[in-house]
Symmetry: none
Subunit: 233 residues, 4 copies
Amino acid sequence: MPQAGPGGYISDPSVINSATLATAPARQRRKDARPQELLDAALALFVEKGFAATRSEEIAARAGVAKGTLYRYFPSKDELFKVMVRDNLSVHIAESAAQAAQYEGAIADLLSEMMRAWWAKVGHGNAGVVCKIMMVEARNFPELARFYVDEVITPSKALIGSMIDRGIRTGEFRAVPIEATVHMLLAPMLHMLLHEHSFGAHDNCHDTMSPEALLDAQMALLLHGLLAASPRT
Amino acid sequence: MPQAGPGGYISDPSVINSATLATAPARQRRKDARPQELLDAALALFVEKGFAATRSEEIAARAGVAKGTLYRYFPSKDELFKVMVRDNLSVHIAESAAQAAQYEGAIADLLSEMMRAWWAKVGHGNAGVVCKIMMVEARNFPELARFYVDEVITPSKALIGSMIDRGIRTGEFRAVPIEATVHMLLAPMLHMLLHEHSFGAHDNCHDTMSPEALLDAQMALLLHGLLAASPRT
Amino acid sequence: MPQAGPGGYISDPSVINSATLATAPARQRRKDARPQELLDAALALFVEKGFAATRSEEIAARAGVAKGTLYRYFPSKDELFKVMVRDNLSVHIAESAAQAAQYEGAIADLLSEMMRAWWAKVGHGNAGVVCKIMMVEARNFPELARFYVDEVITPSKALIGSMIDRGIRTGEFRAVPIEATVHMLLAPMLHMLLHEHSFGAHDNCHDTMSPEALLDAQMALLLHGLLAASPRT
Amino acid sequence: MPQAGPGGYISDPSVINSATLATAPARQRRKDARPQELLDAALALFVEKGFAATRSEEIAARAGVAKGTLYRYFPSKDELFKVMVRDNLSVHIAESAAQAAQYEGAIADLLSEMMRAWWAKVGHGNAGVVCKIMMVEARNFPELARFYVDEVITPSKALIGSMIDRGIRTGEFRAVPIEATVHMLLAPMLHMLLHEHSFGAHDNCHDTMSPEALLDAQMALLLHGLLAASPRT
DNA sequence: AATGAATGAGAGTTCATTCAT
DNA sequence: GATGAATGAACTCTCATTCAT
């Protein structure tokens, strides 16, 4: 049985270094791209049909290779999924944290901006997709769940939490309980993501409420409830 | 071929009345209890391993019967799950709708009360568990998902939505977008349910924030944002 | 396990003799009628759905008893079938043979008459039904097949064969090969029986060709080919 | 999901041409032979035990492969049987129809010739076996029965019927009822096939009457009855 | 004697994974 | 390296038969 190296996918002893890449024959270049092609194919299919309903042969087919080839790069469908999750997460949080740190204006605006940015960068794209799948498959992949909690959930909560805290300390916000408020900010978007994944086919809520509209309504409602001096509108 | 009656599980024409129960033979007494025993066993296993990963034979075994016996009481694993949903969820929704209809006071209070009641009756116990399972398995069982959307999600949204609408029309609430507001009311609790199910082992948020505390904070925040005349504190 | 007596169905030690029948209580009389009621129910269902597709519970239900009761009278579904076949066959052959023996007119008329009578008495009713089922199930019940061959097929062929032979010897018929001619007389009706049983649902030939019409055409055609002096109408 | 091509079994795009056959790797050579090996194994088992009583695993085992392999080549046991019918029967019917269309001589001769050819090609070999199986199993497999009626029975009747009709219109035959006459031509051979299958072990009619002899007698008798000008020998 | 709840051996089918080519 | 034919464990559901009541 092929052993997965620490990188997640099967370590290849005959790996070429990047210097040789320029002159590598097409076959070789193809081979180097394979893991990512497979991961992309898998992600697309997991979104379409879910993890369980996606057959490994389909992943291979969409990546343009045969079934057996998948197993040259990943020891199993499960391991492929793990690599997929690890590759797509913990991406933008550090970045956002840095932005937040140097921000100087009203926290309410920062918060709105960050939520919007999160949706644009994460919720919308691959990372959002991985979030959904992770939520649904967590029980089947405990170590992955742990990783996800440590790398994504905890930092995200800390970031948002610190912003709320700052808002309270500057007197911009009322003295709301921080943890619950963080939850109120994150849950609606995450739940929408999940709902659409799980029930979208039968309850197409996006038809009547776009994610952007929800986000607007959410921020309006929450900020209305959050701000110390009762605001505009 | 056994036919599922309107109650969901296979109807038994030879139902005995309660007066005879004391003297009913053991076999008969078992038979009456069987559907619930099977449902309990199934629920426990679904929580532990999920719907898909639970084999029908396991359900039977945990209920202390053989594989075939399950099929005397439920025409299929799917139907068993539907009965579970109806027993645990549909019932409460209809009940709540009836309560809401005859309520006459402030909508804000009704809403708070209903959310609290929902948590006490639903979120807390078996019903909450059924919600989790459904969220996680929906993608792989489209027919079940459709059933759940029709029986649970749509009625729930309609109920909450009608309350918001009523609040707006009486002038108690600001003219918020209804659908998004419904989402803001439901998502936090549902997401908490799911989060605890999926990541509870790694991110035990209940330690620092009880569901009740979250609910209090949620309602405070949302009502603060919802009420037309900005209220106390 | 209950043992089938030589009679086919389970021998009952507490059997009452016919003298007591008149004064037997209703329950007792019911009990005595049970085997036949079950056989009748089974026959009807075998015709409707075939042997394999008829569940033993259905037989019991149609006979107005519970599943378990069937097994008090017959050790198994297979044995019930065997009794059914034995009860319904070897009925009219001896009778027909006697008639043929004393007949004095033209063999052609006798033959026509006998074929018509066979259809009316046998093909049409229970015995015909049993023939169909026997043809289809023979492979699964070898001893029954042997019985059927000995009791039905062989005597029938002998009877018809002797008539042909007589016709040839009297000069009424041409010198046709006897065995093949017997086959030509029997096969069309039997095949029709089978065809209707097996394909009737998809090829409803009776709509366009009644058994009686077929019989007429068959006899016309065959006698035309059989008779020495061409007697065309 | 493998799709059955128009040929009936799962189509393989990577078909190799005969030139490469000699050098094809063993695995490939096996693969090409597999469908037929499986069909042969299935046919043998169906004859021995019937369609219903033959488990798919047995078919695979007799063909020397594992259970799953069967499903690489045929989407289901039913489909395998359909392929068997098409390969063995549909083909011959189309062929015979073509021959009949261009024939120019006496219909009586054509009819005799066709019946003889049918026996030689169909009744005798695998095709005859398929007929028997179908007759015996039809009742339990309605979809198969429908398929067989459409693919085999109806076309066969149409072919023979059109020949009779032609004979009548040319004045060669008397004005017999067509449908019944078709039945008179087909039933004896089919019934013999079935009889031998079902009762051959107990009533070995072939010992005293070969199929060929029966066919001769049948055609002599029927043509004698059919021809307008009595051509007695 | 009658019941019908309970049993459990099997059936067809799927698909992740292996390994000969 | 790549392939895809082959594998076989696993799964749901059926129904003839048993046996406690």
